[in-house]
């Protein structure tokens, strides 16, 4: 390649970098707008959306205080419940579906295939199809607490996880497990000592998809949880939207920001895995 075309390509790449950097900044503007509006009085949010807070509109930390204290419901509880539900659900989904997927892939009997196809089938069922009946069933069985709702998530979210795990297990050579069996390992030991470590990449991609889903989910917990006692962050935000006569947009924005922070931290900490996981998961799916 000639010097000239190399130089040309270099300028082209620099220009491209700059263009993309500008787009990136634009891409983050909504978040920036959100942050400045958490410091404005409610009536300024919709009329002076893009202005920085000024002497008139600035309310300091008031929105955060109001967002965290409104409506006789402690904000820390919603955080606690959101975390509990997300962590428990994801953990349960990962453990139980990977075990079942290994069994399905290895035993491969007629029943297993039926279960497999049922799970795959459940992936395409929209939530509206079961929302009314699911909330009733979940209530009858007392699955309406943050400690038991993970069972609902395990049931309704099993499809994708089973699909991805079975696909992955089928690609693992049998020899390693055979060796373990010859060494005298029972199925459980084989699973936990041999198979489980090998599943790590899929675990990460499934885990991330489930965490993102559960943390952000609104309708399922809204319809299933015992509303007297438990609210997640999205439900709490929705309550703030429709209470006390006037929508307090400032406080809403503050709560929204507080709800985003944990996810963003989580993302920045493990973004490498997340991006890899999404790519791997999608290519399999």
């Amino acid at each position: 390649m000639s010097q000239k075309s190399l130089a040309k390509e270099k300028t082209f790449k620099t220009v491209l970098s700059i263009v993309l950097a500008v787009i990136c900044i634009l891409y983050m503007l909504p978040i920036g707008t959100l942050i400045i509006n958490t410091f404005k009085g409610s009536t300024y949010v919709k009329s002076e959306t893009f202005a920085l807070p000024n002497a008139q509109s600035f309310v300091g930390w008031d929105n955060y205080v109001k967002g965290m204290t409104f409506g006789n419901y402690d904000f820390w509880k919603t955080v606690l419940y959101s975390f509990t539900i997300t962590i428990l659900s994801s953990a349960m989904i990962l453990l139980f579906t990977s075990m079942a997927a290994w069994f399905i892939a290895r035993v491969d009997s007629k029943v297993c295939r039926i279960i497999y196809y049922l799970c795959v089938f459940s992936m395409v069922v929209p939530f509206q199809m079961v929302m009314f009946t699911l909330s009733k069933t979940a209530d009858t069985l007392k699955l309406n607490t943050p400690w038991t709702i993970p069972i609902v998530y395990l049931g309704f979210g099993a499809g994708l996880a089973i699909f991805m795990f079975v696909g992955f297990v089928k690609g693992i050579p049998l020899e390693i497990e055979e060796a373990a069996v010859i060494d005298g390992c029972g199925p459980l030991k084989t699973y936990f000592l041999v198979v489980f470590p090998m599943l790590k990449p899929t675990m990460i991609s499934v885990g991330i998809l489930e965490i993102m889903w559960v943390w952000n989910d609104y309708l399922l917990p809204y319809l299933v949880l015992d509303r007297n006692l438990y609210r997640t962050i999205p439900i709490h935000i929705q309550y703030l939207q429709g209470s006390y006569g006037q929508v307090d947009w400032g406080a809403t924005m503050a709560l929204i920001f507080l709800g985003i922070v944990p996810v963003v931290i989580f993302y920045l900490l493990c973004q490498k895995h997340i991006i890899k996981g999404v790519a791997a998961g999608a290519v399999k799916g």
Binding site: T43, G71, D139, W147, T148, K189, R227, Y244, G245, Q246
Partner: protein, 423 residues
């Protein structure tokens, strides 16, 4: 080890599924529908529990979600024992779930049967626990500052003159005529649920009889009068009507901060707007109907208690005792009356609500009461949603075509929703 692990796993599942053991004594679960009274009800519940040991659980549905919350909660294993059935449509839907309150000790405490709701078989489904009035709240001090007097305003003509004068001089006065009229869920009911009542009531009066059930159609004869008052409200405030659709204003805040003289709202606002000794009054919806000098305030209620007939007997008894205590205990009824305005029960504390007192004054002076015909709105949430949407379009562009859409939402919307519910 294996067995233990497996056992633990299964045990986890079983434990999770096992129903939580419950005490045998009754308890009260009140599904409240007014977010603004949540705080007071929580306080009352706590008082009662401290006094008697009976658990009282008050849950408040997010505003605008009462019917869906009630539906979901009723289907649960611990349904509400006390819920709100505030209109005929509610009676229709929930009558199966309503305990017949005829002759019960709470019903015997009532001092009027004006706010009772019966189903088609004559079962007393729900009883009012307070009543309210609405109209146009006026900041009398500001009005006088602008050089007008409250008794100048006796009909639409005079109201319009005052309002337009204040609006024209808003910059000089430092305040405007009306507060904002947001159309988001937190505020639109002031128009789609309240102000429109004037059309329904005058239709009743024109026909010479009060509705006792939801009519299949309405004529919309007085929709032009609704337009009179509505136009006055949206076009004489500090804000561009086109911005009302997005919400984000704070009408109550504007009124409290002396930024506007007129505020379309009701008696429940009394505590908030009279704060700091502000001189406030409430006037009727003057809208250009003949003889409206004799109009009074809009009085009625949608606050009616119903007891869940399908609850456990112990819970029903506990709920009944709790309600009786609410309306007879001096301390409790004082707190409730201060929040609700007035409770129509023989032994309840006396009302201190200035607006309700004004409603009585109007009635005593021979003015006709505007009843809450708005309670008959069929399929109410859907009806109002379409109504709001039409008002939004009109606010953005006040053309005749757009007003025709509003009229259609009021009149055709009524017929359509009626056919949906009864078809």
């Amino acid at each position: 080890m294996k067995k233990f692990l497996a056992l633990a796993l299964v045990l986890c599942m079983v434990l999770a599924l096992a129903p939580v053991a419950k005490a045998e004594t009754g308890s009260v679960y009140w599904l409240n529908f007014k977010p603004e009274s949540d705080e007071v009800l929580q306080q009352i519940a706590k008082m009662y529990t401290e006094k008697t040991g009976v658990p009282v659980n008050v849950v408040t549905a997010a505003s605008g979600t009462y019917s869906q919350t009630l539906t979901a909660e009723m289907d649960k294993s611990t349904p509400p024992t006390l819920f709100i059935v505030g209109n005929q449509e509610g009676v229709k839907t929930w009558s199966e779930y309503c305990l017949d309150l005829t002759g019960t000790k709470i019903a015997n405490e009532l001092n009027t049967d004006a706010y009772n709701l019966y189903d088609e078989n004559g079962k007393l489904c729900s009883i009012g626990y307070c009543y309210e009035c609405y109209g146009i709240i006026v900041n009398v001090d500001l009005l006088e500052k602008a050089g007008h007097k409250l008794d100048e305003i006796t009909n639409f003509e005079t109201l319009k003159a005052v309002v337009e004068d204040i609006h024209a001089r808003a910059a000089e006065l430092g305040f405007d005529a009306f507060t904002s009229s947001d159309m988001d869920g937190s505020s639109s009911w002031r128009f789609t649920g309240h102000m429109i009542n004037l059309d329904y009531v005058y239709e009743e009066r024109a026909a010479g009889k009060v509705w006792t059930e939801c009519p299949a159609t309405i004529t919309g004869e007085f929709v032009p009068n609704f337009k009179n008052l509505y136009d006055l409200a949206i076009n004489n405030s500090e804000f561009d009507p086109a911005t009302f659709a997005a919400g984000g204003h704070d009408a109550e805040g504007e009124f409290k901060a002396d930024k506007a003289v007129f505020f379309v709202n009701g008696s429940w606002e009394y505590g908030a707007v009279s704060e700091g000794g502000k001189n406030v009054a409430m006037i009727p919806y003057y809208c250009g109907v003949e003889g409206e000098e004799k109009a009074g305030l809009n009085c009625g209620t949608e606050n009616c208690w119903a007891i869940n007939a399908n609850a456990k007997q112990a819970d029903i008894d506990a709920t009944m005792d709790f309600l009786y205590w609410c309306v007879t205990d001096p301390e409790a009824s004082r707190i409730l009356v201060d929040s609700f305005g007035v409770m129509p029960y023989k032994q309840a504390a006396a009302s201190t609500n200035g607006f309700l007192a004004m409603a009585n004054d109007y009635a005593n002076n021979g003015c006709y009461v505007m009843d809450w015909a708005t309670n008959y709105q069929p399929n109410v949430d859907a009806y109002r949603a379409a109504f709001v949407s039409a008002l939004n379009a009109y606010n953005a562009d006040q053309s005749d075509a757009n007003w025709e859409q509003v009229r259609s939402a009021i009149v055709d919307g009524w017929a359509y929703q009626y056919s949906q519910v009864n078809g």
